[in-house]
Symmetry: D2
Subunit: 281 residues, 4 copies
């Protein structure tokens, strides 16, 4: 069995080879898009699948960090390989937007077209391996417009230059009847607005996702006591092993991750060519 | 007609004379406990009166400020009469807790007994009128336990020594089925939790009280656009005049304010005598 | 003197004629982009002008509403002219994004290029004037990527299909040293993060913009007591009249509004032609 | 070595015997008042010890739950021993306020006097062991006023009848220069207000306590990724073992827990006798 770090590959064609290899070998496989297993995110999926939101109009996601703002920060080597294009392939697109895209495909279905811009704010950094100042090849920031196959509009954004945000992965989904939002900085909460609530008491609900009838939480502490980031991996391993045992493979597997890779490729192509790019189905 | 600033008097006996005088003269009368007319607070009253909370278990209120912490601040005179016991009668008890008590009596009925403590943190201040350092006679802080006639327990607290709070008047009411909380620093919102919501999507709702079906708001802007503090007075004048026109006097009138005065007297007596004190019915 | 509702015109060429007319006539003029006069927004401007944010990397703004989701809602007539393209010119772009763009140009300087998408979710609505079902000509939603002249990246989004948001105008600016965010639903607060604060106590500050040294607030209530939406107009009239009196015209005047119009034109052109469009300087 | 669940005993005299026994035996000992090891709470302690708050005026704490509101809930047995006075000794006082008091003594020093009220809202419940309806002996709610030895005033409250709160342990401390507040429902955040910040940008800071220079967090994930409730126990074991290894016993030990027990005894006595009670030093 193979559990692979995300993103699956440097690009779609590489990823496809990996998919074909594991499918041919019939090896149970999974990719560490761990945020699907935050209980609040799993709850969002459940609410959407139950049809509570109705027709979806909007999806927006961002993954904001602020740790590479200093020009003194070098690139490359063990600690900073994420800043080295040779090691990382891309910058925030592959590192952070990959998460946003995986969640989005899972919650809202396929993306049809994207239109992106990227920027590298710091053009040169000392390289830890060569010791020399070298051109920075990664994207420091990436934002893109998108249209999903279900007709909803989307904006995605990621950067490592957003002062005040450490790992602010957020998403919000607006449907005909209800809306949902979530924020990694308070990962144990889900915000939910249901227009079908009576008018005078209608408002965004802050759901503290720690009850035993919330996803995964029956296995942890009593209500009110939150779990941490690492439990997302624990949940994923548990689901993976249960999937193997029952012959019902858990997701996201390599093929799911390949679909995310295709979106990433389209985003980077769109930014390079400055035009709308369609995702192959 | 008489519209009187709050608290109505220095103490209960004085207030009673005023009540008797206006009632004898049959003069329309009202006291400026304006916070009842914050739309969110009026909505809270409406929800309680509809029975949504069920049996009430707890009431808590606080009014926290931080503007008298400096020992250099003098007492007395036009700007600082609130710190001069001869002019103000008491400190935070008459100035701030009076508001909390008026709202509480309105929302939760009569208070049966109280048990208070007060403190004067700065013992002497220069007096603006005499120019001399004089003893401070007011209470800088006051907290009290209470039992309402309906069996609910309460805590009340007010101080001018709570760093970071300018005019943080808050209350929270916990009932069998639902809870409500409110905060003057965001006066246009009401927080509401209803246990009868389905379990997995249960959470505190933040109600933006700006819709046309919310109290008073049909007369103001479109949804989403908040009103300010001064509108509480506008609402009160409107209700008062409408009450006069229709022969159905609006509240709080002098008699209501007298009931608040009786609680204030009991609170101050309790603090002096360090024991539980009952409120006369 | 002329105080004109926003947006100034249906498009740039129309707006230019108006600018030329008022400038030729030397008539004091102003456009009701009132959100500049929310004290918290004015404070944001002040902090930026003082250089506290340093180099700006990101700007993001959204104006989200949810009042046109029902297909039963008709278009046109006195109450619903905003949905009638003949009367409104465009949908959310001219109505809502115009505000976002005015604020952005004021806070962050000129926009160089934009790349937009628009959508009309409900294609046909009954028209209040004709009584017939007619094609909807306005944009229900618009999102665009942008690059400012100062090198910062931006995303803007507006819609009337975001369940749970009544008039959620928000912006966030990320600079090298500090970030700012604001939200019309709590217009009296400004959120501020300063990386120069000591590490262990660094965090987003929620500034309750009600102190006498905050913009405009010295003229209103005591600290902690918020003002409402309508005061933005009061402030604007005051500034306008003071500008007339002192011979230093207040902004935004017709020329400022023309610049906003040029961005609006570029946004709509970009959405039509599905490509990046530059703003004329 | 002994690590004992809290509270240490049913009452002070029992606790004292335990203290004397472990001290005589020279056995390393500790009590599971785990909330001291929430990184945000440890950070609060650090800020106070550095003198950042200055003279303390106010301390307030609450521990609110809502799981025993139904009269149908039985008492006693494995799952519900907390509702059986014979097993639990007291209700919320020993179960929940014990935590609040331990933290308070640690952060703000000794408590001098208390004045409490308790209530049992549901007077009878079926007992799981006898199968019969029996009198409920525990306190469902407890609130008390207190004065600390350092002159600060305090209010404490706990209940299991606060709809909407699962395990809402909160505290707030107001000092001359700064204030701190914390909330178990978002245990990874600390709220901090420093009056010495420049006036126009002064506000409550929401500190996301996940940086490597925050207490304990250098051992866990990267900034922005929160830890869960169980880590408080992990931290406590680590500190305990390090204390044993270095010969510098970690706290809270049995003697600390005895001091908390003395406050609990005084609270219950005060509620019974309806008067102020002093804590023995």
């Amino acid at each position: 069995m193979i559990l692979c770090e995300k993103p699956l590959a440097m690009n779609g064609p590489e990823a496809l080879k990996m998919v074909e290899a594991v499918e041919k070998a019939k090896v149970p496989n999974m990719v560490w898009y761990n945020y699907r297993r935050v209980p609040a995110v799993t709850l969002a999926k459940q609410l959407i699948d139950e049809g509570r939101l109705g027709k979806i109009f909007h999806y927006r996601a961002q993954f904001l960090q602020d740790w590479t703002i200093s020009p003194e920060l070098p690139q490359g080597g063990t600690a900073l390989w994420r800043l080295d294009v040779a090691a990382a392939g891309s910058g925030v697109t592959g590192d952070l937007l990959a998460h946003c895209i995986d969640t989005a495909l899972w919650l809202n279905g396929g993306i049809a077209t994207v239109n992106a811009m990227t920027e590298t704010f710091i053009k040169e950094r000392k390289h830890n391996l060569s010791g020399k100042v070298e051109k920075v090849g990664i994207d420091d920031a990436c934002a893109f417009l998108a249209r999903f196959q279900n007709g909803s509009l989307a904006i995605f954004e990621s950067t490592r230059y957003a002062r005040g945000h450490k790992a602010l992965y957020t998403f919000e989904i607006n449907g005909e009847h209800a809306s949902i939002s979530w924020d990694l900085h308070d990962l144990h909460r889900l915000n939910y607005f249901d227009h079908r609530d009576q008018g005078i008491v209608r408002g965004w609900r802050s759901i503290h996702v720690t009850d035993s009838d919330h996803p995964y939480m029956g296995k942890w502490w009593v209500p009110g006591l939150q779990i941490g980031y690492e439990h997302t991996f624990v949940h994923q391993v548990a689901d993976f092993l249960e999937g193997v045992a029952k012959g019902r493979p858990a997701q996201p597997d390599f093929r799911n991750a390949y679909e995310t890779q295709l979106v990433l490729d389209a985003v980077l192509q769109s930014a390079r060519e400055q035009k709308w790019v369609s995702i192959p189905k």
